[in-house]
């Protein structure tokens, strides 16, 4: 199989993960479900980065480095978002994002 077709298949897989993440963020009412959707989106982006680092001569190292940065950012984002969700749960005893309407301290 020629490299372009292979690259396109990997990009299609990344697009599938991205779309799953977006739909997950849109449909889940649980705040942690929304967080799971964000993780799926970041994974789709990572697949694209690594696929380009394999198939494009100019992104041989850059693709992998950016994937590493995305992984670290995702870890930080998950930690802060979960802290916010737990705090919201402590204050409101719910994790339903539809009830999170007021932005007060």
């Amino acid at each position: 199989m020629n490299p372009v077709e292979q690259l396109n298949l990997y990009l299609a897989l990344g697009a599938l993960l991205f779309v799953c993440g977006v739909v997950c963020m849109a449909t889940k009412r649980n705040a942690i479900g929304v967080l799971i959707g964000v993780e799926l989106v970041l994974n789709g982006a990572n697949i694209n980065f690594v696929a380009f680092s394999r198939f494009h001569p100019n992104f041989q190292v850059e693709g992998m480095i950016f994937a590493l940065f995305v992984i670290v950012m995702a870890a930080g984002e998950a930690a802060v978002a979960l802290a916010i969700v737990l705090n919201f749960y402590n204050n409101h005893t719910t994790v339903d994002v539809d009830t999170a309407e007021e932005l007060k301290g």
Binding site: L16, G21, T27, S53
Partner: protein
């Protein structure tokens, strides 16, 4: 002739895609988190298949080992009675699925339209790339390239982003601990 690479790609990609779809459509949040675990493991398999050993290993370590533990902890701390199964109404599902299929077709259409030109080429055999060493060279600003070749003249520095990421993780550590701590002086503040 039987080729291992496309077979493995289709196997792992099918499993990963199915797990991702199951993550979206399962209503139970615990099952959703479990499907996400399999999706992340499948993604690391894709990385190994692409020859990115180091990134795949880091994905397994940080994502599957760290982030998933965080998410499961969040699920366990908040999963009580009505919050395990929170239903989404049928109309919202219909709109979301139509929008998702449209978005996916737009992305695939754009991919096949743009990258049909023969500009992408496969890299050399991933077996003989010293990835951890190459990435470390790029991260510390020593330039990169296979370590048995002379270092390229125009050097690519990722030292500053690397430091920023380190400081970012420290800030996240402190911020998450500050946000999640138990507040006990609510009445005293008035």
């Amino acid at each position: 002739m039987f080729e291992l690479q496309p077979f493995m790609f289709w196997l792992i990609a099918t499993l990963t895609g199915l797990c991702a779809i199951a993550t979206v459509i399962s209503q139970n949040i615990v099952r959703s988190a479990t499907w996400l675990l399999f999706t992340l493991a499948g993604t690391s398999g894709i990385f190994f298949l692409l020859g990115a050993d180091f990134v795949g290993a880091i994905q397994l370590l940080i994502y599957v080992g760290g982030t998933m533990v965080l998410v499961v902890f969040g699920v366990m701390l908040t999963a009580q009675g009505p919050f395990i199964n929170m239903k989404t109404s049928g109309a919202e599902w219909a709109i979301s699925i139509v929008a998702g299929i449209l978005l996916f077709s737009v992305l695939c259409f754009g991919t096949w339209g743009h990258f049909s030109a023969p500009q992408a080429t496969a890299m050399d055999d991933p077996k003989d790339s010293h990835q951890a060493a190459t990435l470390a060279q790029a991260m510390t600003g020593a330039g990169y390239g296979p370590i048995y070749k002379p270092v390229q003249r125009e050097r690519i520095h990722y030292l500053l982003p690397f430091e920023i990421v380190s400081v970012h993780l420290l800030v996240v550590l402190i911020g998450a601990a500050y946000l999640a701590r138990a507040k006990r002086r609510k009445g005293a503040a008035t």
